[in-house]
């Protein structure tokens, strides 16, 4: 049997006391295809790495097993060491004899160490090289949504020299933000003109995405504008479609404009001449969604504005004012200082339109009994909901949404702006009820990720690490349906039959497809069935 496996043991500079490395060495040299077993005290340091390279070169081994600390930290560096020694970095199997053996148990663990290393040897024996491959990518970005987030991203990308196309469903940019929800929110005018004058940004209004294929770096899309479909290519896509607000006005008819939305109140505040300034203004918020951010800020902001402009009595019916957005606490304290009355109630107050005024029955917890207030103007609660076409877009992009229908705002691994599909980002309101500060941080992290992804002009990927074997694939589409990253397509290579094909750029190497494939056609180099079962074979031997 040709001796092709080299084993390096590391006693971590004496840090591993309960493994007898000589005994380990003695046991392992007996394995027929093991060329050598070298014990060293610090493989991760320069000197250790040097010995690995020289030993590999002069012993001419093809596979390397390193028994040391956890691969989580050192697999990458040892991979590079293998490359220096002229070996493919994937021909490395590690045995975690430190954290998961020496440090994890009392007393001598030499036997366990030997078994862990044998498991690694069995796996190493079957390892195959995986080549790196560079894929040219398109550096343009498609921004869906011409609101605050969308325009900001386009501008910042342009400053970084990346071209963006802003796709806006309405006929004009920033359409929805015309009805500013809070009195002090900024004016969009200058930003829109800056976008329209920037030649790095192409604006397509009353246009919609209708088709998308390909994956990160090479999305080819179809955009529908004025009845015809424009084919385009992009390297990354940003979803910035914002949210939709729904007035929670109670069922009573809107009695003569007395029940308003935040935006309507702002317009009243902005209006110079107002024949009768409302003496009492009521706000209801916090009942539909307790930890609402934007409605909280808007209510506090407008309550203060109403106090300052009209010096009216202001009542705020709330459940528990959560001030987790930047500046919210300051606003709340200011409002209290200015004499705005906050009434805490468990259940949403009843709203009745009576004799020209709005009557609110609320069960105030502090006073403990039902109190009735009459206000000239009541600003009803507004619930933040996903945009209407959110489900069409999410099925088009084949990306998931959270329990409330917003894009990915719960997955801790993808937080804050990534989606399960590489190259597609989600920013701002379409991700949930975010306040200004969070939207801005979303924008910058999206811009940074896109810049990092696209600026090199190419993507380096593992070539065919996860591969569907065309001979065995029966095109049953199971992998296509289960892949969480939409990395598998059904392709017809020349005159072959249609088979599944994994896109290396989009594949996130999870192996769900390899496990479920009924024809065992998908191999996942490094974790093939044989390589996993080979580790199991090493059990029960000691």
């Amino acid at each position: 049997m040709e001796k092709e496996i080299g084993i390096f043991l590391c006693n971590c500079g004496g840090g591993i006391k309960n493994i007898d490395f000589d005994a380990v060495r003695e046991k392992l040299v007996q394995i027929s295809d093991v060329a050598f077993v070298a014990v060293s005290s610090a493989l991760c340091l320069e000197e250790g790495k040097g010995t690995i390279v020289s030993t590999i070169k002069d012993k001419g081994v093809e596979k390397v097993v390193i028994a040391a600390c956890s691969p989580e930290f050192t697999e990458h560096t040892f991979g590079e060491v293998l490359e220096k020694a002229g070996l493919n970095r994937h021909l490395l199997a590690m045995a975690n004899v430190r954290e998961q053996c020496a440090w994890a148990h009392q007393g001598d663990v030499t036997k366990k160490a030997i078994q862990l290393i044998k498991m690694a040897v069995n796996r190493a024996r079957l390892l195959q090289p995986v080549q790196k491959k560079e894929l040219p990518i398109n550096k343009d970005v498609l921004v869906i949504g011409g609101g605050f987030s969308g325009l900001n991203i386009a501008l910042q990308l342009s400053r970084l020299g990346l071209r963006a196309t802003v796709l806006e469903k309405e006929a004009v940019l920033g359409a929805r933000l015309g009805e500013a929800e809070s009195f002090s929110s900024c004016d969009m005018g200058p930003m829109i003109s800056e976008v329209e004058s920037d030649d790095n940004i192409e604006v397509l209004t009353s246009a919609q995405l209708v088709r998308i294929e390909g994956n990160v770096g090479n999305f080819s899309v179809r955009i529908q504008k004025a009845g015809e479909e424009i084919p385009r290519k992009y390297g990354a896509i940003v979803v910035a479609t914002g949210y939709r607000t729904q007035l929670m006005a109670s069922s009573e008819p809107d009695s003569g404009g007395k029940i308003l939305s935040q935006a309507e109140l702002c317009r009243m505040l902005a209006a110079q001449s107002l024949e009768k300034q409302p003496r009492t203004v009521g706000f209801i918020f916090d009942f539909a969604d307790e930890n609402s951010r934007f409605p909280t800020l808007a209510t506090l902001d407008n309550a203060l504005a109403a106090k300052e402009k009209w010096d009216s009595e202001v009542y705020v019916f709330c459940k528990s004012v959560k001030v987790d957005s930047k500046g919210a606490e300051k606003l709340y304290r200011e409002a209290r200082a200015r004499g705005i009355v906050f009434l805490k109630c468990e259940t949403p107050p009843k709203v009745l339109a009576k004799n020209g005024r709005v009557e609110i029955q609320a069960q105030d917890i502090l006073m403990g009994e039902d109190t009735v207030f009459a206000c000239d103007v009541l600003v009803a609660e507004q619930q933040i909901l996903p945009a209407e076409d959110a489900d069409i877009l999410s099925s088009l992009l084949n990306v998931g949404r959270d329990s409330k229908g917003f894009y990915q705002d719960e997955n801790v691994h993808l937080y804050p702006v990534a989606l399960e599909r590489k190259g597609i980002f989600v920013v701002g309101g379409c991700r949930g009820d975010l306040d200004g500060g969070r939207v801005l941080s979303d924008i910058s992290s999206a811009v940074m990720s896109i810049y990092e992804l696209l600026s090199p002009g190419k993507i380096v990927v593992d070539s065919e690490k996860v591969k569907a074997n065309p001979q065995k694939c029966v095109a049953c589409l199971t992998c296509f349906r289960v892949c969480p990253h939409s990395a598998i397509q059904l392709m017809r290579a020349e005159n072959e039959k249609e088979v599944a094909q994994v896109a290396d750029a989009a594949c996130d190497a999870c192996g769900i497809c390899a496990a479920i494939c009924p024809a065992k056609a998908i191999s996942f180099e490094g974790y093939t069935d044989e390589q996993i079962v080979a580790q199991i074979e090493a059990l029960g031997t000691s």
């Binding site: 975690n96 997955n411 496990a515 069935d529 996993i532 199991i536």
Partner: protein
């Protein structure tokens, strides 16, 4: 040495949790054999059955917490497959209870150790009864 317990550990959650257990000096049963996998969703029924063919005492599949899977559906699919494996084992008269799925996050070494102690204690009790 009592029979081994195979633990397929997802590299995003269970594997780092195991490392952290070792680093923070927590001790657990020595007959555990950890096999690193890219995601709990990589583990299929055949791997579990092959482990039992080898005569291991128990097989654990340790993945990310519900809803926090790096690959979105990896841990849910693993849970379904463990249930299916349990049924297949019961069909052949083996003890279905010996294959289990647990969810933990990478910063939960104590949970990792608790799981292993719980399983090895259960097996020890069952061995005693036999």
């Amino acid at each position: 040495m009592s029979k081994e317990i195979v633990a397929f550990c997802c590299q995003h959650s269970a594997y780092p949790a195991a490392d952290l257990a070792g680093k923070s000096g927590l001790r657990y049963a020595e007959n555990v054999r950890i096999i690193r996998v890219p995601c709990a969703g990589r583990i299929d029924v055949i791997h579990i059955l092959k482990a039992f063919e080898k005569g291991v005492a128990a097989v654990l599949v340790l993945g990310c917490e519900e809803g926090a899977c790096h690959h979105i559906t990896g841990n849910d699919r693993a849970k379904e497959r463990v249930k299916y494996a349990e049924m297949l084992l019961k069909e052949v008269g083996a003890d279905g209870g010996r294959v289990k799925m647990y969810n933990l996050s990478p910063n939960a070494p104590h949970k990792f150790v608790k799981i292993l102690d719980e399983v090895s204690k259960k097996i020890a009790d069952e061995e005693k009864q036999k």
